[in-house]
Amino acid sequence: MNKKKVLVICGTGVATSTIVMQKLKAFLRDKSIEATLEQSKVSDVLNKAGQYDLIISTTAVPPSMVDKVINAVPLLTGIGKEQVYDEIEARLKM
């Protein structure tokens, strides 16, 4: 299985993406999934989305990125987080 490149983004690249990053690391460790993780803010990645296999975002993203993006807000609120984890796992095992 190829090691996937994952990008975690939020509006500022400071607060919510940090939380998501932490949870994602724990989840991947738990599932023994290896991936390269990077953290950034949405405005910095508009032209680089193509470099990543998966983008996990707490903010709305431009339509050009939508196909690669999973909405991570449920990881913050806890509501619907299981589906998000399932989707992340499925995408990284593709």
Partner: protein, 160 residues
């Protein structure tokens, strides 16, 4: 430091009357400026960021918003201001900016970059995942009482 220490008695404001978002942010920001936690420029960043990337979250019966911005040089001392808005105030949805959420708890975050801040952010996220805790905050009368509730919150177990 625990959440109640970051928030502090001086950083809690209860809004009994109807208010708009600008007023809530102004008053919460003012408390952080008064105690020297932030310089006034930080609030301009927060307002801009809230426009571009809103922070309202659906969390259940009691909804929350976590306005914040890049600390740059504007955060002098990491802190959090808490607004309890009895009648709710509209914040746009983080996941869908076209959607307005009526939120009752507003956590204005003045973070620093780094590990200590992560601990605090995680505590906030654990808190907002627990409606019973949020209900307790809403039921508290007066800022002193809110602060006491925050101090007594059962430390929620680390959640994946």
């Amino acid at each position: 430091m625990s959440l109640s220490e970051y928030i502090g008695k001086d950083h809690i404001r209860i809004f009994e009357e109807a208010v708009d978002q600008a007023e809530v942010l102004h008053q919460l920001g003012d408390m952080l400026v008064q105690t020297g936690a932030i310089s006034i420029e930080y609030m301009e960043s927060v307002r801009k960021r809230e426009q571009a990337f809103p922070t309202g979250l659906y969390t259940g019966e009691v909804n929350v918003a976590i306005p914040h911005a890049d600390p740059e040089n504007y955060v002098k001392q990491p802190a959090i201001a808490l607004g309890v808005v009895r009648k709710g105030v509209a914040f746009r949805n983080m996941a869908d900016p076209t959607d307005d959420i009526s939120v009752q708890l507003v956590f204005l975050l003045a973070p620093e970059r780094g590990e200590t801040q992560l601990v605090i952010l995680e505590q906030i996220m654990n808190l907002i995942q627990d409606q019973a805790n949020m209900r307790q905050i809403m039921d508290a009368q007066g800022t002193e009482d809110v602060w006491n509730v925050l101090g007594q919150l059962v430390q929620v177990e680390e959640k994946l």
